[in-house]
Symmetry: C2
Subunit: 218 residues, 2 copies
């Protein structure tokens, strides 16, 4: 299938949504937990969280103009904090269900059957069922005029992660946490290890390193 | 494993790199093809391509300050064009090898054994071995002062994708293209379909829709 700019512009709207959303490849699924100033919690699935840097530890995400996720954006701007929780195979159907257009007074936690987990001095709820929980502090908010979306950049200030998926050198076996991936808007996938490769140097062909799992704590 | 802000700041550098890079979850792997004004082609693996919107079709990516990927950034700013090519299971080792610090006069295509594919009126090379090839036009470039990285936003103006992975409604079976995912810096994964879910509505529990594969063209 070969499309030029004109062909792309001519795509039917629903087709376009499914098609273009698939082109960036698989996307990790995250549940974003927030709270407004009146203790109404909110939970929304995002597939646009991306790594910006590790020192300081920064993650970005995109909030779309029309979506229910606006509640998330408003809460983040109000409290300057949010949680990012990996979606795993046990909870991906509930996670998907958070994308329904609940009204503002409804907590998606309750509506979809996930549990709030709170820690001291952090004004946003985590998802108890998630195996990788990140507490985020807002660092930057940018409106992207090019298509009326918003980019949020946050710093990771709290990490709660299952010990048995972290290896001695810092590698995290995200696959072992059964974190799921989304292609397009609605199709969920699990991941299987292919291999861990060694640091690439000019002149040397990439060599298969030991399987990542072998370096994990038993 | 529970870390607060102080713990995170105290992480040893190499550990931090592997650890923090894993926290955003699995990342799709892409090869970015560029060319400078003197017909020197360049190819670099990126794991930070993210979806910004489908109308217009926009993808973002992050270029890091220290990396060899600066050649990619310089070429994009010079020619205003680049290609994004999905990395699949057959070529992920070559793709990883593009991250070696080759000098500027070396084409990574040649160095790692991938083939350039050119189309008319597009000033950047595609990767022939990739099953999802996107031709991009630069729309926005932002320096992110927060950590000295650069964000590139491009519009998809050319799509070349294998017919047999596109279903009638526009869904693309990225998993069938054997596109690979990276966790942390160096660990590659394949994806397996869990299920395609129906559009979420309040009041209805998420229901498993037919397996995505069943809606694919035979």
């Amino acid at each position: 299938m070969l499309l030029n700019k004109e062909d792309i512009e001519g795509l039917e709207n629903r087709y376009r949504g499914l098609f273009i959303n698939a082109l960036s490849g698989m996307k990790a699924a995250h549940l974003i937990g927030t709270c407004d100033g009146h203790e109404h919690s909110n939970l929304a699935i995002f597939t646009s969280v991306f790594h910006i840097g590790s020192h300081p530890p920064l993650l970005g995400m995109i909030s779309r103009p029309h979506s229910v996720a606006r509640h998330t954006l408003e809460n983040i701007l109000e409290t300057k904090h949010y949680s990012i929780n990996h979606v795993n195979e046990s909870i991906y159907q509930q996670a998907h269900q958070t994308s329904a257009r609940y009204d503002r007074s409804t907590s998606e936690f309750q509506a979809v059957g996930l549990s709030e987990q709170w820690i001291e001095d952090f004004p946003a709820p985590f998802v108890e069922q998630s195996r990788v929980q990140l507490g985020m502090e807002l660092r930057e908010h940018q409106h992207l005029a090019i298509n009326n979306t918003d980019m949020i950049i946050g710093e990771i200030i709290h990490i709660n992660i299952k010990d048995d998926i972290v290896s001695d050198d810092g590698y995290v076996a995200v696959g072992r946490a059964e974190s799921v991936m989304v292609s397009s808007l609605d199709t969920y996938h699990s991941c299987d290890l292919l291999s861990r490769l060694s640091y690439a140097k000019p002149g040397a062909a990439a060599q298969l390193a030991e399987k990542a799992d072998s370096s994990l704590k038993k």
